[in-house]
Amino acid sequence: MTTAAQNLVLAPVWDRPKTGTHFLSGDHACAEGAVYAVCRFFAGYPITPATEIAELLSERLPEIGGQYIQMEDEIASMAAILGASVAGAKSMTATSGPGFSLMMENLGLGYMTEVPTVVVDVQRGGPSTGLPTSVGQQDMMQARFGPHGDFTSIAFSPQSPQEAFALTVHAFNVAERLRTPVLLMMDEVVGHMHERVVIPPPGEIPLVGRPRPTVPPKEYRTYRPGPDLVPPMALAGEGYDVLFTGLTHDETGQAVTTYEAQKALVPRLREKILKNREVYERVGLYKTDDATTLVVAYGITARSARRAVDLGREKGLRLGLFRPISVWPFPAEKLRSFRNVSRIVVAEINLGQIVLEVRRIAGPYAEVIHVGNPGGEVLSPETILEACLSPPGARP
């Protein structure tokens, strides 16, 4: 048997992750995170500024017994990672805005058929071809509502290469644990910036597998959920005669296109995400204890926001940073726990996306204002501070 003919699920991990201290770009740190998480299958298509993830994995995956394949487009890439996952391989793709748009239909198939996989979007300025080599955070609502239909997505946003590494590992764990696609919403600056990245020894970050059937094939139902609302997952080739369809289906997987079947399925897809927040929710806090004004920022913008908080504190302002690391579902209860806050400034490289969610959550008790730009530049600390200092009611 040739080496590539091995079952990727059963193949040994030939190489350990590159444990140690490195100087890596966010893209490369993400790729190393995938290696650490024992991702065995990457399908992708070159696109700036995400290409470096594919490049590094084309080198690393054959080293560790995994499979890299460059597909003919992003539609095929998304389909291939679902296929690899249903056969048991942890899988991933990486892209940017235009490719992310192409992936939407099959991403929806992933939510509907509950397939664990990781999709990385290194965001650039849009819409359309936009600013291929410059930063944007304009795909954040697409990360929530991109595919048609009702579902709830999980999305993370790293602020540094180190965090890109850690969140890639976390994204795999969450995807497997909850049987769902997970989005890693990076941005061009985090993707291309080089910083110190520490890769821990294997085992230091625990790896989580998908829930597996505990009953014999005759009793197994492809979509019978456990108490946590996650159905145990049988793989292709295990004798369970699994049946997956993007059509509305019952517990056996058979297509049942009725209101009753829809009512039994689609709300569960949402609930299994919302009821398991402890699995994925992460928030970064900085000087929030006595804050009366919170800056909400994620990705590269959180780095500027942190500096803005320091600059404001020097001026005697009680500023704090609330950083949703898991941006979707938005950590609403955590934000509401800061009840002394009278003003929230949402800083993001777009014309107003996550601010809509923050306003929905905190609008009843705080003034929520937005500071952003249409993409192409990182927001400066001064710009964010200026928004914090603006008189009440002066900004949208």
Binding site: T3, A4, L8, I75, S91, N106, V242
Partner: protein, 298 residues
């Protein structure tokens, strides 16, 4: 009983059934609780499904190793009836999905089973690229010359001049010649049969299921409710008679040159095995990549 009839009865006995009595010998290979199928009277898809299941049995592929990937359309409904691991994917994306399945677990016999619209309109790009890679997949295209499930619209295989609900004045476009397309893109096995050629179809599936590389089988199937009716071919039986009267067998060609397999209304339909060649597969070549990456001599 004709020779073919006797052979068919022998097939049934070989599968453990008694011709004309008792449970159907395929019952354990079907999700029988889902029957009857949604396919229209006279439709050819069921014949092709039966032939594929027969092929799996004849090729002695372990039941748990059988995987069917379907797209969207009448043909792809096979996933709800064939008792294998089955994946009903998005329209046109069967081949890349199946590529992921196969690469993650190469011990599986992965079959893509979809219609002409799915595979060659919305999914055409995936088809040529998988053929180019010589990916280890058997792709079965049920070609009924139109979009059956949505009610008989024209598509990439609708013959020039043919009528459909979206070509009411006759099709202004030329159809793809699927065997030529597959051969040109790099498929290592290419055959075409009609659903009249049941025994040849069964033998073909039995033979190619155990082979490697990109294998393509086009199955011309009656669609009496849409294509047949619109083009006044008539019932399913009459569409079969249409095939019988026009079929010309040009099988086992020695060269890799595909005979003129283009389809025109009322003109002869060439059937047979057109390409049958050896070739390195994607996985063969990737094994060398792995060896190089690991510093081994390949």
């Amino acid at each position: 009983m004709t020779a073919d009839g006797e052979a068919a009865a022998a097939d049934v006995r070989a599968l453990g059934g008694a011709a004309g009595a008792g449970p159907h010998p395929y019952d354990h290979l079907l999700r029988s609780e889902r029957l009857p199928t949604i396919w229209c009277p006279g439709c050819g898809i069921g014949t092709a499904v039966g032939a594929l299941i027969y092929g799996f049995e004849q090729a002695a592929i372990p039941k748990e190793k059988r995987v069917i990937v379907g797209g969207i359309g009448c043909s792809s409904r096979i996933v709800f009836y064939a008792k294998t691991d089955a994946y009903h994917t998005t329209h046109g994306r069967t081949i890349p999905y199946a590529t992921g399945v196969k690469l993650a677990n190469p011990s599986l016999a992965v079959v893509v089973f979809a219609g002409d619209g799915d595979l060659f309109a919305i999914g055409g790009n995936h088809f040529i690229h998988a053929a180019r890679r010589n990916m280890d997949l058997l792709v079965v295209c049920i070609n009924n010359f139109n979009y059956g499930m949505t009610g008989g619209q024209g598509g990439p295989t609708t013959p020039a001049g043919a009528l459909s609900t979206t070509t009411p004045y006759g099709n202004a476009e030329f159809p793809f010649n699927l065997p030529e397309l597959a051969a040109a893109a790099g498929a290592t096995y290419v055959a075409r049969w009609t659903t009249l050629d049941v025994r040849r179809l069964r033998r073909t599936f039995a033979e190619v299921l155990v082979r490697h590389g990109f294998r393509f089988v086009e199955v011309l199937a009656p669609c009496p409710v849409s294509f047949g009716k619109t083009n006044k071919i008539g019932s399913g039986v009459e569409e079969m008679e249409y095939y019988r009267s026009l079929e010309v067998l040009k099988s086992r060609v020695e060269s890799t040159e595909v005979p003129k397999t283009n389809i025109e209304l009322g003109k002869p339909i060439i059937v047979g095995t057109f390409v049958d060649r050896e070739g390195e597969t994607f996985r063969d070549r990737y094994a060398r990549v792995v060896a190089k990456a690991r510093g081994e001599s390949s």
